[in-house]
Symmetry: C2
């Protein structure tokens, strides 16, 4: 995952409503849930929710598909894995660090200091 993609994803999650939306979608699992139900459960105005869902989708953190007259959103677990992988690889120094996909511009995390 590229640095710019990570920045976009972090920016998307760094907002109260969007983080709540994403967390709710994580709980919903792969089946996802329709925008209207999300709006109800989180008490967010439909237009506001739509704005935030668009941000999350732009960041690659959610996908969507129409089901009847609803549009069902799903958390993009793979994207989140990428974000966490990046942070673990480049912004940590602990044992969870992954040693794959490191390029020459990546930070080389000092271990055990």
């Amino acid at each position: 995952m590229e640095t710019n993609d990570v920045i976009t994803a972090l920016a998307a999650l760094a907002q109260e409503t969007r983080l709540a939306v994403f967390r709710r979608l994580v709980v919903a699992g792969q089946g996802g849930m329709p925008a209207g139900l999300l709006a109800d459960e989180l008490s967010v105005a439909p237009a506001t929710l739509s704005f935030h869902l668009k941000e999350l989708a732009h960041a690659g953190l959610v996908t969507s598909e129409r089901q009847g007259r609803s549009i069902v959103y799903q958390a993009a677990f793979g994207c989140m894995d990428g974000v966490i992988g990046y942070l673990t690889l480049n912004c940590c120094r602990d044992d969870r660090r992954l040693m794959e996909d490191r390029d020459e511009t990546s930070a080389c995390c000092p271990v055990g200091q």
Copy 2:
């Protein structure tokens, strides 16, 4: 780590310059490095860097201490661990999830879906 703290940290990292600063400090390790050297290496104007360091400090992601006429900044590895722990716990569904520190408002991540 509280949701609001995570949001603050994510917002701090979701900016090109600040992410670069933090990554450089991770590479520097616990010894950290002075603001001036950071500014030189990253080609950021001192005032701009200072602004971003303040943001990172406010988010708890860096600490600082004066050494002579320099101010040395260090990555706050513990804070970063907290952020990754939160994301892993609340925003993932994979095996890295930690099962500790979950409270009743936390998302319960579905596993294996």
